[in-house]
Amino acid sequence: MKLGVYICHCGVNIKANVNVAKLTKFAEQLPRVRVARDYLYMCSEPGQQLIKKDIEEHGLDRVVVAACSPRMHEITFRKALRSAGLNPHCLEIANIREQCSWVHEDRMKATQKAQKLLAAAVSKAALLEPLEEKEVEVTPAALVVGGGIAGIQAALDIADTGYKVYLVEKEPSIGGHMIQLDKTFPTLDCSACILTPKMADVGNHPNIELFSYSEVVAVKGFVGNFEVTIKKKPRYIDETKCNACGQCAQYCSIEVPDSFNLNLSKRKCIYIPFPQSVPACYVIDPDHCRYLLTRDCTQCLEVCKQGTNAIDFTQKEELVEVKVGTIVIATGYDLFDVTTKPEYGYHLYDNVITGLEFERLSNASGPTTGEIIINGKKPKDVVFIQCVGSRDKTVGNEYCSRVCCMYTAKQAHLVREKLPQATITVFYMDVRAFGKGFEEFYDRVKQEGVKYRRGNPSEVYRRGDRLVVKAEDTLQGELVEVEADLVVLASGIIPNKQTAQIASLLKLSQSPDRFLLEAHPKLRPVDSASDGIFLAGCCQGPKDIPDSVAQASAAAAKSLIPLSTGKVIIQALTSFVQESDCRGCGFCVEACPFDAIELREVKRGRRVLEVASVNEVLCKGCGVCASVCLSGAIQQKSFADRQILSMVAALGEEYA
């Protein structure tokens, strides 16, 4: 057994806190080490060449790299080994950067720790076995969860490449929050006008199968071969028959608050969320329908029978199974609940509204057909309050929601356009106009006579029939009270309510802000930590529309890689059974969370015994089975008992 040890300086990242020369000397005297070298950047091309050259010249059969985390460069070095003809799994990495040089100040102690980490890696490396990597076929289809702009874009990009896409949306129509918006900043494009063509494309696309009013309830499998269970909620209307004529709604006598208009208006109990809905199909609200509740009304049924006869009260919840190779998560955001800031009086005053409510109010398809009317009057004085629920530790949201500064500027512009006489005041902490064309737009809005006052209001209260916004203007250093008859709260973005559920369904992590966590903040911003699952849009963090679209296209491209190569390499760290040691107790079978182990009969001379047997395709390599095996017959590749124990022993040694 010949080992090579390669110690990286990482510029000064490691060298500054770890005595690399001493570490190299130390490595030289470790058992079985043939060569030990240090180099400025081991991951660089010349660094990798060093390793390759040594493998060829010295006939090394195991390689240890002491550098950054294996989560960073394990793949790089595995490739280097492979290209030099060595099995890529004959590599062990000692993490002396993230878990040593970057976290310890005492150089001597950090060097001592690095020695231990290196000795542990060397002792494990000597016990590593070459492993075979298996290729499996990829199901040429993708699942997109969420039908907002990010999900729509991802679905279209994948479908346009020629692969099947299953798009799942929990609401009766795709469109997400974007379809609720009026104009978009900073170009003032009409939101619906630019979105509806894409929605129509989704509806008509031969490669997209749309599951609206549906939810993903179970996901099994792994990259290349996911099995997804989708729950279709009953619409009580046959999608294939409904032509959205709307006769039913005219006859329906039940009126309920219209959630699409954020309850600012009423809709019927049988409804279509908005005129451009995709699919263009009505839906019956099961919580309010008199037929479904008490069976004493059949108005809609009667009228529909004379038309397409699409209403079907016998519809039941339906579970559909689909197979896909990759998954894009685009579950979007929810609005911060402004009632958790009671000082702004949202729960008390009708003329305190959220930013999204303003969008509906100002929207031509909204409850006032685009006229800014509140309590039957056109407001004379309008106040916007920014950062409601963003950059606010008191409500647990430290982050900036990234869109409120600009949507407030846009809304101020819309008020100016529609109510030229109104006074408009914006209270802000900082104006973050960072995007393309943002600063210019902010400048334009200021020149339109919108008054920006720096200060975070402390209170909104009523005086007579008007509202008063009380704040400290921190630029002028004075307390101000501004009268208003419309106050718009620039409510921030929080992760969709179901984010935690999605995360546990797909085994994804959440960052402290509760958005979904990407695999690497810089280099893998659209990957999740799970292979084959990608993130798009606001589920990963607050974003504006162009950023969501860009990330969606990126996620689509990433998810197309396995689909178009048609094969994925499944990780080799599966379990294996030493049959002669197995007593067939079945503990491992019970412990395996993936049903990857079963007992099968083998012949031993004349006797027939039961031994455990691992299905390598189902095995995900957690190693739980190995931890419950009494005889040590079942082991995890690269994490066998003796390999781990050798590290324990090495960490226990005292080194000079």
């Binding site: 950067r97 970057w102 976290v103 720790k113 930590a529 390599g621 739980v624 022993a649 960490l651 226990g652």
Partner: protein
Amino acid sequence: MLKKFDPNIMAFLCNWCSYAGADLTGTSHFHYPPNLKAIRVMCTGRINPLMVAAAFRHGADGVLISGCHPGECHYMEGNYLARRKIFVFRNLLEFVGINPERLQMSWVSASEGKKFSNVVKEITEKIKKLGPLTTFDE
């Protein structure tokens, strides 16, 4: 002069949460004492109590096992299995005269870099107070 007690603490960290969290501690440059050295496993469910026993036998004064938060295990339920095993094993430690406080378990997710450095500081302080594992208690 008596050498000041500098405990040797070994940690078993799961690849998906705590090892990644420990990496984030590094990336964010949150400092912690160098006493703790980590061994990466794919899942805390992989850890066999014998490994903990071996750690103590080979000179560890304390052992930390850290994995994904309950309900967030990358492999569904490996962390629960680890928790049950550790719970039982701590009783056994007490029985043989090793203070069960020397074996700690924590949940650190991939995004909790700050938390990991706090966990290491806490366990290091705790083990320093307990002193070296040279004799059995009682």
